[in-house]
């Protein structure tokens, strides 16, 4: 891994956000079409999307480091990248603490340790404030709906589960092995969630048919939270946490 | 009665049958003979209505064949052809009962009646296949299969039989037996038969009339005695033959004269 790389490519929007958040945005020479935040990120050269990055364009950008969210993204090109001395840095957080760690590591890698530390402290304080506020409140059971049909949800290894816990809730699928999974319709209904949370991109919210008779639907406790906050394990995950806590415990905010 | 008037069949631009007239009259066996590629099988398929004609017309009882529903034609005209390769297991009885299809009523989900079963049993007996009813078609020898195909054609109770080389896989005894059966149908039940064969002697013996086909045209039509002459056969088959009378039946007997032998 080169010390203090000057040319960086990111292959996931959360990593792009981290790079900007630690003040290293000027080092970014390439990112993906999914990377739309902050606004400057849109103007960086695009190397395809997260699912199918284009190796030729990546190499043409002569990066020293590529930040990826899963190793499989560039697995087939390991040899080509090694030959050119391009380092690949994988960060794949599963909870908020993991996100903080990613921020600090990226900061250290790009020579922005101090900014990263300051950022993490701020984020940690905001998260702590949320947790403190909801602490006296009774825990709300939550079903996190990734897609309504077929029904997908988040499991034990997803940061969503951690976020729900911190927001004063308990994911009914918290103990299910895995990160994202196809989930049984009837098990979802039988878990009697008091609230349903889903990520939205501004479109109409669609509750899974199986959950129509759940307590959450009957009480109208369906919450859509900006998908960019929930699906990108970066600094804005804390925004997601705050919105989630507000949804679950409106009385304390 | 099935009549072909001046029919022609074309495959793309190639003329396979050109201006042939033929009628299958009750009580008559008509043999069609001719060299390979003369258009015999094409003629048979045309007679059955399978091919569209480039010219002429085919009449069933004086009305155009095409104006009849297939089901009606299936009850009147039966075909024995080279059977297609079987890819599914089917018993001999099931196979022969296929000949009763045209008699089935649409409303009854196509189940065979007692009469269908009786007819099938009768034709199995006639074709000496009664022991084979429960066997699979694929288990039969070539000759046994050929008889099953004939049995299916007979099961249709059609008055007009079109047989395309029905004796090809049969031994001598079964060849004779099969043609006797066809002959008997024509004599007794006023059925008509058109038989394509390569065996000129069998044709001479069993047919009332013979048509010689060459390059899609009828080279000669008439009683065996009239048309199975050395001159006509030489013209059609381009070989020398010896024609004499069969010592027992008196029918014309044709023996090829092998040119190669003359050197001995």
């Amino acid at each position: 891994m080169p010390i203090r790389p000057q040319r960086v490519v990111t292959l996931a929007p959360n990593l792009t956000e981290i790079v900007y958040a630690v003040g290293a945005g000027d080092l970014l020479v390439g990112n993906t079409t999914f990377c739309d935040y902050p606004a400057e990120a849109r103007r960086v050269a695009k190397v395809g999307d997260t699912l199918q990055p284009n190796i030729e364009r990546i190499i043409a950008l002569r990066p020293e480091v590529i930040l990826v969210s899963t190793a499989s993204q560039l697995e087939t090109f390991t040899k080509q990248l090694d030959e050119r001395g391009i380092g690949v840095f994988v960060t794949d957080p599963h909870d908020l603490e993991g996100v903080f760690k990613s921020i600090r590591t990226v900061g250290a890698l790009l020579g922005h340790e101090d900014e990263a530390a300051t950022l993490v402290n701020k984020l940690r304080a905001r998260a702590a404030a949320v947790e403190e506020a909801v602490l006296p409140r009774p825990v709300v059971t939550v079903f996190y709906q990734v897609s309504p049909q077929p029904l997908w949800t988040a499991g034990r290894k997803s940061w969503i589960t951690d976020l729900i816990r911190r927001a004063g809730g308990r994911s009914v699928t918290a103990e299910v092995e895995g990160e994202w999974m196809r989930y049984s319709d009837e098990a979802a209904l039988a878990s009697r969630p008091e609230a349903i949370i889903m990520a939205t991109g501004g479109e109409k919210m669609e509750v899974a048919p199986a959950l129509q008779k759940s307590p959450a639907t009957q009480k109208g406790r369906i919450y859509g939270i900006n998908g960019d906050y929930l699906s990108r394990p970066g600094p804005r995950l804390v925004d997601g946490l705050e919105q989630m806590a507000r949804a679950l415990h409106p009385e304390v905010f | 009665m099935l009549e072909a008037h001046d029919i022609s069949v074309k495959y793309d631009e190639r003329v396979a049958v050109a201006g042939v007239s033929l009628s299958a009259r009750p009580g008559e066996v008509t043999a069609v003979i001719g060299p390979n590629g003369a258009g015999k099988s094409t003629l048979m398929r045309a007679l059955n209505g399978s091919l569209s004609l480039a010219g002429g017309e085919i009449l069933l009882d004086g009305k155009p064949l095409r104006s009849f529903a297939r089901r009606v034609v299936g009850r009147r005209v039966a075909v024995v052809a080279q059977e297609a390769e079987l890819r599914f297991p089917v018993t001999v009885t099931e196979f022969v009962l296929g000949g009763r299809y045209a008699w089935s009523s649409v409303g009854a989900w196509g189940w065979e009646t007692e009469r269908d079963v009786a007819v099938a049993r009768e034709v199995l007996r006639e074709t000496e296949l009664e022991e084979f009813g429960a066997r699979l078609m694929s288990e039969l020898s070539g000759g046994e299969r050929q008889r099953a195909v004939l049995a299916r054609a007979l099961a249709t109770e059609a008055g007009i039989l079109l047989l395309d080389e029905p004796t090809a896989n049969l031994d001598l005894a079964h060849q004779t037996a099969l043609l006797r059966l066809v002959r008997a149908r024509c004599d007794g039940k006023e059925a008509a038969a058109v038989v394509v064969t390569h065996d000129i002697n069998l044709a001479a013996e069993f047919a009332d009339r013979v048509m010689l086909l060459k390059s899609g045209r009828a080279a000669a039509v008439g009683q065996p005695r009239e048309v199975l002459t050395p001159e006509i056969l030489r013209e059609v088959f381009e070989i020398r033959v010896l024609v004499d009378a069969h010592p027992v039946t008196g029918a014309p007997r044709i023996t090829p004269v092998h040119e190669a032998r003359r050197q001995f």
Binding site: V176, M181, E186, G201, P209 | E130
Partner: protein
């Protein structure tokens, strides 16, 4: 007229009336088994329901009087039962369509999934969803209609590609199926790129066959199509028996080949289209079930078609019960289970040639 007695010795043991009697018997037995399995499947699931109360609720049509909680009632009637019914109609449709394609194409290996016909229906469904907004209220009907059109178009394509002079040879047919399948797969990939990321994940699952949560309208369409398609194929079964021996033979014996072929194509495409629209591509059902039925009951389509419909329903009900319970509360795609059973059998069939 003489009275016929049908007995082994006379070589008519597989004669007509015994076939009819046996078909009725087999269908009654399979129907009873299907009912039994549907009942059994309704008390098995990711969520434990009290068996006695569930059965009581199923027979009385209400949960509360039998001691089920409202949730348990909803699980039984809104989630589990519709899914089981969908499994049954999808299984019946695919098995029946398989039997139809096999007879028509004269090929025991013909199968909606392997021939790319399921893919055709899937492309139709996706086009309906992406371009015609078939997910929206009021336009759900576009989905099965487009699936039907897709199935029909791909059936026609495979048939034209594979047809030789004496009907499609096994090799040519499978080859045509591979070509159509891969072509349509790339069409599917192309359309998925037009979808957003979370929908893609759901879709990949659906493509492998997913019986959960089809809307009541799609379920109704699937059931009605299964019944109509099966009846139409059964009514043409005797013609199919002859077509199975060759189109020329069938024509000679009085079959209106063109009309029967069109009818069977339409009915089979209706069956495949309606099940794919509701449940995605559940593979191998159309291969495994008719084959086993033919193996145990002979090749007469008047028996094979109705028996395959019932056995197919049974097969998918069992497979889906496994799909929703083996790793509960997570789920497997039912298509993965049917393929797990079907693919080895397919290899076996190919080897036996």
């Amino acid at each position: 007229m003489k009275t016929m007695t049908i007995d082994e010795g006379a070589g008519m043991s597989r004669g007509a009336r015994s076939t009819l009697r046996r078909t009725v018997f087999v269908c009654l037995a399979l129907g009873a088994a299907l009912l039994l399995f549907i009942l059994a499947a309704s008390v098995i699931g990711a969520e434990r329901l009290p068996a006695a109360s569930s059965l009581c609720a199923l027979f009385t049509g209400g949960g509360a009087s039998c001691g089920l909680t409202p949730e348990q009632g909803a699980i039984l009637f809104d989630i589990r039962l519709p899914r089981i019914l969908l499994a049954a109609s999808v299984g019946a449709s695919l098995a029946c369509a398989g039997a139809g394609y096999q007879a028509l194409l004269r090929n025991p290996l013909a199968e909606p999934y392997l021939l790319g016909i399921s893919n055709g229906a899937a492309v139709g469904t996706m086009v309906a969803l992406v371009f015609f907004g078939a997910g929206e209220e009021g336009s759900e009907w576009v989905r099965p209609v487009m699936a039907f059109a897709g199935a029909l178009a791909s059936t026609f394509l495979v048939y034209r590609l594979a047809r030789g002079r004496t009907g499609a040879s096994p090799e040519k047919l499978i080859l045509a199926g591979v070509i159509v399948t891969t072509f349509l797969s790339s069409a599917i990939v192309f359309i998925t790129t037009l979808m957003d990321a979370t929908r893609i994940r759901a879709f990949t699952f659906w493509l492998l066959g997913d019986l959960s949560g089809a809307s009541s309208k799609l379920l109704a369409v699937a059931i009605v199509a299964a019944v109509i398609g099966t009846i139409v194929l059964a009514l043409n079964a005797r013609s199919l028996n002859l077509l199975m021996l060759g189109e020329r033979d069938a024509f000679d014996l009085g079959v209106e080949v063109g009309r029967v072929r069109l009818t069977v194509f339409l009915a089979a495409s209706l069956l495949v289209g309606s099940s794919v629209a509701a449940a995605g591509s559940v593979g191998y059902v159309g291969l495994v079930v008719p084959h086993l039925v033919r193996l145990s009951l002979g090749g007469d389509n008047r028996t094979v078609v109705p028996a395959a419909a019932l056995a197919g329903a049974l097969f998918v009900v069992v497979a889906d019960t496994a799909a929703r319970t083996v790793i509960a509360p997570r789920e497997l795609p039912v298509g993965a289970i049917t393929a797990l059973i079907g693919a080895p059998l397919f290899v076996l069939l190919l080897r036996r040639g």
